[in-house]
């Protein structure tokens, strides 16, 4: 336990360094930073318009009213922003570039956790601005829906959200290990990203088979639907059950996939 805590602190120190020079780099290229932030905002705005247009035609979708849907939308994009900031760019570079070029060797040589080195090396600071914008939207929606939200449900939401974020990371990385087996496979991650566009709609509007998929093999429901449901008191027991089942399974799959992938990587690279 002590060693784990020490290792965590060490990795945190290393991450502070990575953040610090990424920020310096971003400040050196301020214009690019703002243009890229703009592009993220545009992308999110187009989806927001879809939600607004949907609710022009109906007052409820899958049991979710407009304000609840906007809350769900904002939480999806907060997760999107956080994942971009923390590890998404690392995953994408890992699959697209670093395995193929063999630069991943350099990560393996370092006395740090190999997943940390592979995925957390390039924080995407451009996502900060649009994440803040959707965070403000989320807070606004929470205040509007405050009559539905108790302190207990809010605390429950915070815990579940963190666990769901971990599930999402574990699953993404498990899928990313396909790069150890197939030379060019970054489209797998883009596929999952595209699929996660549907996380902004209540999962229960889809056919049963797709709902099951979104809660298991492609768990995009955990991006926002599950924690939002817990926050708003919708099917809370079911949601917590799913978290408690999927979290350990995804942890085990991640560990095995990474370990086997590393073995496979070493057997293929020269």
């Amino acid at each position: 336990m002590k060693q784990l805590a020490f290792s965590f602190r060490r990795h945190l120190r290393i991450y502070k360094h990575i953040l610090s020079f990424t920020a310096k780099y971003m400040m050196a290229y301020r214009v690019s930073f703002f243009i890229r932030s703009l592009h993220n905002i545009f992308y999110v705005a187009t989806f927001f318009i879809v939600t607004l247009v949907i609710y022009q035609h109906t007052s409820v979708l899958g049991g979710w009213v407009k304000d609840e849907a906007i809350l769900l939308f904002s939480l999806v994009h907060i997760t999107y922003g956080i994942q971009l900031f923390l590890f998404m760019r690392g995953v994408e570079e890992f699959m697209r570039l670093r395995i193929k070029s063999g630069d991943f060797d350099l990560d393996l040589l370092k006395p740090v956790n190999s997943q940390f080195m592979a995925f957390f090396r390039t924080p995407w600071i451009d996502s900060v601005i649009f994440t803040l914008i959707v965070l403000i939207l989320f807070i606004r929606q929470t205040l509007i829906l405050s009559h539905q939200i108790s302190l207990t449900s809010f605390i429950s939401f915070v815990v579940s959200y963190l666990l769901c974020l971990i599930i999402w990371y574990l699953v993404l990385v498990s899928y990313a290990t396909v790069s150890f087996y197939v030379t060019k496979s970054e489209q797998v991650i883009y596929f999952i990203e595209k699929a996660s566009d549907f996380a902004q709609y209540p999962t229960n509007i889809f056919p049963k088979v797709i709902q099951q998929a979104f809660l298991t093999i492609l768990p995009i429901a955990f991006v926002a639907y599950v924690p939002s449901s817990i926050l708003l008191g919708k099917d809370v027991q079911k949601m917590w059950t799913m978290i408690l089942i999927i979290l350990p399974i995804s942890f085990i799959i991640n560990k095995i996939a990474w370990r086997e992938g590393l073995k496979r990587y070493s057997s293929a690279s020269s």
């Binding site: 290393i14 990575i18 780099y25 630069d103 060797d105 040589l109 370092k110 006395p111 740090v112 020269s270």
Partner: protein, 341 residues
């Protein structure tokens, strides 16, 4: 600790390789669009024996050169020693660790520098990478400052460590790469083609640096290179690998003396000369007496190269004369054709 104990420790091998084998499965595709379509249905695989049963030991402070052609197995061997590749068969020990375990305690004691890959962050000054490595290797502040000063001084890069890496020349980048790799004072240093693509002056600079590093820190250095000069200047001992097999392990002097029997004389004449005349001086490899250019290439015994050159200049109308070592590939070919030393 007594001198005898120290000597005993220093004579213990830091690198031990026993019957190492490393095989890869590669798939062969026929060329062209039709070949690509056929490969959808049936693929042919073959096993490449990158390293095929090699054994050696290296003691602390030794500088050993790995020599071999492209694809001989040099880089593969280094990668196994660094823990990047798992052996197909055999045993490997570096500093009493199994490299494949990739224990942090092991990783903090060695460094691998690959000439064709870089760990410096492209858009940032090299200093940022140094600071990151300080955190990764947990180097204390004082030690970091001292080592950095020393390395920066030795490599004369004080003016460039705060410039973006992408704006540096290849030679400058290579120097910074070395610093990044050596900040944690590794006991074992693996250098894979460290001087590739550098000009002759920079190559010399780097060699001098590596020599001083070895002398100062008593680091064990294993170096692979295509450039014979790298190995000649730095290493007393050489290991020759060809097609995955170890065909020579011993003093470098022994290879040069025993196998590099000849030197190559490239000649340009101001007028036509006869082949018969030239034969007296050595074995003719190439003879070209064309319309406007008269050239020839001779193989001459190493010991007599200088003397022959002098005789040629006296007796024949020579416009230009160049004395070269035979390429490393030629020496290795000779070594391989002669069998194990």
């Amino acid at each position: 600790m007594s001198c005898a104990t120290m000597e005993l420790i220093m004579s213990q091998p830091v690198i031990q390789v026993k019957n190492l084998k490393r095989y890869f499965k590669v798939y062969k595709k026929q060329p062209g669009l039709w070949g690509s379509v056929k490969s959808l249905f049936k693929r042919k695989y073959e096993t490449v024996k990158a390293v095929d049963d090699i054994s050696f030991e290296i003691k602390q402070g030794e500088m050993v050169g790995f020599i071999g052609q492209n694809g001989a197995g040099k880089t593969t061997t280094l990668k196994v020693l660094s823990g990047l590749l798992y052996p197909t068969e055999g045993e490997v020990g570096v500093l009493d660790f199994d490299p494949w375990d990739r224990k942090p305690e092991f990783q903090k004691q060695f460094a691998l520098v690959m000439g064709q890959k870089n760990q410096l962050w492209w858009d940032l000054p090299a200093m940022e990478t140094f600071l990151l490595n300080k955190a990764i290797y947990e180097i204390p502040d004082e030690q970091f400052a001292k080592t950095l000063d020393k390395l920066v001084d030795l490599l004369k890069v004080k003016d460039i460590i705060n410039i973006q890496v992408r704006k540096l020349s290849l030679g400058q980048r290579m120097k910074c790469e070395l610093i990044a790799a050596l900040l944690h004072n590794p006991k074992v240093l693996f250098l894979d083609e460290p001087t590739i693509g550098l000009d002759v002056v920079m190559q010399k600079n780097l060699r001098d640096f590596i020599k001083s590093y070895n002398q100062e820190f008593k680091a064990t250095i294993v170096l692979t290179s295509h450039y014979m000069d790298d190995v000649k200047e730095l290493c007393e001992r050489a290991i020759i690998i060809d097609k995955g097999k170890l065909i020579f392990d011993g003093k470098l002097k022994k290879i040069i003396d025993k196998y590099a029997r000849n030197k190559i004389l490239s000649l340009v004449f101001s007028e036509e000369v006869s082949e018969k005349e030239l034969k007296k001086f050595g074995q003719i490899k190439d003879f070209n007496q064309g319309e406007s250019r008269y050239t020839a290439t001779l193989l001459v015994s190493r010991k007599k190269a200088a003397q022959m050159a002098s005789e040629l200049l006296k007796q024949l109308p020579i416009e230009d004369l160049n004395i070269e070592e035979p390429p490393i590939e030629a020496i290795i070919r000779e070594v391989f054709q002669s069998g194990n030393a």
